[in-house]
Amino acid sequence: MALVIDTSLCVGCGACVGGCPNGALALENGVAAVDENVCVLCGVCVQNCPVGAIDIPRETNAPDTTAQHRDVWVFAQRSEGLAEVSLELTGLARRLADSKGQSVTALLGGGTEDEAAQLIAAGADRVILGTQPALAQMLEAPYTDWICRLAAEYKPEILLFGATPFGRSLAPCVAARLQTGLTADCSVLDIDGETGLLRQTRPAFGGNLMATIVTPHHRPQMATVRPGVMPLPAADAARQGQIVTDDAAVAPGLVELLQEVRDGGGSALQKAEVIVSVGRGIGQRKNMKLAEELAAKLGGVMGVSRPLVEMGWATQDRQIGQTGTAVAPRLLIACGISGAIQHLAGIAGAKTVVAVNTDPNAPIFGAADYKVVADAAETLRALIDALE
């Protein structure tokens, strides 16, 4: 397998060179050339090439058994009752299944009939209710065993998990056991009209780029889906569905749960109504005090972007974004944050977003309701003064 450059098509524009994340491409004698010691076949150049001169030809080795698989499955995670993301996933699965003329099955371990009914009301045709005691705990091993057995038996075409900490840990165990592909943290899922494949769109390169991924020859097609991204389906109490109880033994695994302590579910950031967030554009570490001061005046808290945590200017519990905390305040004032999409993903739930940045083209403005092109620290000072 290799990157193939058709030098008869290449016009030497260099678009592939500037776009290569690994610096593997260069122009030699006016045409693109790849350094195979550096190229990791990520495929960005294939997309970038305006004349279609670059290709990564694929040969497939998979015995194609895709025809035997059908239906859309979701893993319905519980956490003191049904997790909201389980209903979001069920609603999504319903839409995907409808466009393929298939049915929706939800897997509910350690749950109640009432929760099963909620899943049916959200769009499930069938709920498989796992009743083994080992499924009452959030542990990967018993769930992996349970889900893989069911998947081997029923052969679903699509299998979805919530991208919660547990879902992100469980799904790869299942994927490795089933030897199939898994796309993490999808924000858009749809069915390709031509091929019928599940198109899984997710952030790549720290979220600065979106990638659409398919799993053509392996089944089930697996993805984890970010909580809060899919709409919560309206409950339809009139919907009919089947509840199947499954009490077959599951292997409990070797991980022993010693203690589980509820911590109220959510940090100060998650609960905050007002957040003043700061990024690298704040310039000096001491200017962070200004953000804290303004937040205090507005009855809110301060959040930060990832670079400030990496620079040691703030602790991680302050970090907003995909790897930090997703927030949903009434008001978010983003100061000196450029807005990597990974950060934007974390603020998608904010009602009103005011963004302050010196760069008028900063991506944060694409996610803002109000745009202020100005220095973050100066604006903070002005706002504090004005509120006094």
Binding site: M138, P165, P203, G299, K371
Partner: protein, 259 residues
């Protein structure tokens, strides 16, 4: 105590922008660095070595230049390194990567603990640790922020969005770790000087007995079919002075607009 740490070389920056003129994506990844989360995994391994004795091996799959990253791990105190590098590994998704690493782990022999970073900052998938554990058939816990090891079992804590679990695993086991676990040490002068003379072993797919059909692009079930820059979603109103901003933030904060 023998610990294997899986490390990945990633670009220092994930910056991406669009050249408006040519409509092509421009990236400047900067220097290649060790995935920051993997640094914390290495630190945990080194701390365990100090506490319980034993050795630390670092394992990576990557381009030949990733040998320098492994050398940096040796400078920090790792005892042994192995780089899996081969064109056959290129283009691997997580399933194919976990396969190659699984083969690499076999090369390194018996171990007590296998540590990975919670995720790689360029991929953000967090799948390698759990997939590797599944392939190895040993228990695993992801996102560990506290860790105590007795020598035959390990007790860890993780946060599962709303609750903190304390878990005990028999060894051997796989853990993926978060940044909160520790503060990675810097290499010492003596460590750097020692690491400088070490030859980093590099192995191809054939050398580790890997089935090429399961490696790299060929062994990857997933395919990227399109990449694009994220779209802007909101209509934005530009304000030019603080006075115009004030009623908005007062209103947003529920302080009344003052007029």
């Amino acid at each position: 105590m023998r610990t294997i740490v899986c490390v990945k070389q990633v670009p220092a920056s994930n910056e991406v922008r669009l050249d408006e003129k040519t409509n092509t994506i421009i990236r400047d990844g900067g220097e290649a660095v060790i995935n920051p989360f993997d640094s914390h995994a290495l630190e945990a391994a080194l701390a365990l070595k100090e506490q319980l004795g034993g050795t630390v091996a670092v394992l990576s799959m990557g381009i030949p230049a990733a040998a320098e990253m492994l050398r940096q791990c040796l400078a920090r105190g790792a005892d042994e390194a192995l780089l899996l590098t081969d064109r056959a590994f290129a283009g691997a998704d997580t399933l194919a990567t976990s396969y190659a690493l699984f083969q690499g782990v076999e090369q390194l022999g018996d171990f007590d603990l296998l540590l990975c970073g919670k995720m790689a900052v360029d991929g953000d998938t967090a799948q390698i640790g759990p997939e590797l554990a599944t392939r190895l058939g040993i228990p695993h816990v992801s996102d560990v922020f506290s860790l105590e090891c007795s020598g035959d079992s390990v007790t860890v804590q993780r946060e599962l969005g709303g609750c903190v679990q304390t878990l005990r695993l028999p060894l051997p086991a796989v853990l993926t770790v978060t940044r909160e676990l520790n503060v990675p040490r810097l290499p010492s002068i003596a460590g750097v000087l020692r690491s400088e003379t070490v030859e980093i072993p590099c192995r191809s797919a054939a050398q580790i007995g890997a089935d090429e059909a399961q490696c790299g692009l060929k062994g990857s079930p997933t395919q990227v079919v399109a990449t694009f820059l994220p779209q802007r979603t909101r209509e934005v109103v530009e304000l030019t002075d603080t006075a115009a901003l004030l009623p908005i933030i007062k209103g947003g904060a529920g302080l009344g607009t003052g007029d």
